[in-house]
Subunit: 116 residues, 3 copies
């Protein structure tokens, strides 16, 4: 069985697909000057784009691990998340606090999904 | 291939099942007043119940990511864990420290398993 | 479908294999006196050995979650990582900071891969 990789770089690929399961790299905001609402929206836009590239979508997420730099941002993150998810197809999720590689990043999301 | 979801809420589902693999949301204690032993037992009871709902069980766990609010709780967590796991069917596991969404939560577990 | 487990201990197994997907336990250095470069090399040697035991290899990694005790070690970790990965087959990856179970451990890696 082959592994398909998308957006392949020298350190990591953004996507790996194997047997119908789609593994995404941790997604962060391009514009780290934005607040948690803006960064969450950016991250979810990346997830949408990568899932689309992989032949999946936000209604087919199997698991989402969320790392917040500051748990005080949890309610504001959730507000953007709740408006984004597909009703009836919400994924399992876990959220913990962790410092992220860029001190201006407020959120990183690790998504696993199923291909259509 | 369809995704099956259980305990579906507006923010997350507790379980997603795809191609025989069962993905659980991060599990935490209902009664956060308990110590690490009590919270670990509560979390493992949730895992048992959700895996049963999904047609799996504690002997079929593929990976368990554990987040402890305080690594000083590692030995007491392990004591409850070691008495719970199925001998010969212990899963891969990783344990790190992370602050959790409720400051009274001492442990969160993220379990992936295989259906029977 | 059977689950295959390797290096099975009373608390955890180092490897679980199910439907061609290989799940590794969190890997850390045996010699925790080494610096981040040395510990990263040790961890990657463990990953190589376990993937080989499972019938996979470093070119077939689906996801790698990295926990660093100190994000200041990120560049030195990356240098060892970049020399290790298979060009064109780099995996999705996410790196966050988290305290690890042994205060001398600087890095822990959680790898999921595909069998050959």
């Amino acid at each position: 069985m082959n592994i398909e990789r998308l957006h392949v770089g020298p350190t990591l690929s953004e996507v790996a697909i194997y047997q119908g399961t789609v593994w995404l790299a941790g997604q962060v905001a391009d514009d780290a000057s934005q607040d948690i609402g803006g960064q969450t929206a950016q991250v979810l836009a990346h997830v949408d784009r990568l899932l689309n590239d992989a032949g999946s979508d936000r209604g087919r997420i199997l698991m989402c691990q969320i790392f917040l730099a500051d748990l005080a941002d949890f309610p504001a993150m959730n507000q953007v998340w709740n408006a984004w998810v597909t009703p009836g197809q919400t994924p399992p999720r876990a959220t913990v606090q962790a410092a992220l590689a860029n001190p201006d990043w407020l959120i990183e999301m690790v998504v696993t999904a199923a291909r259509k």
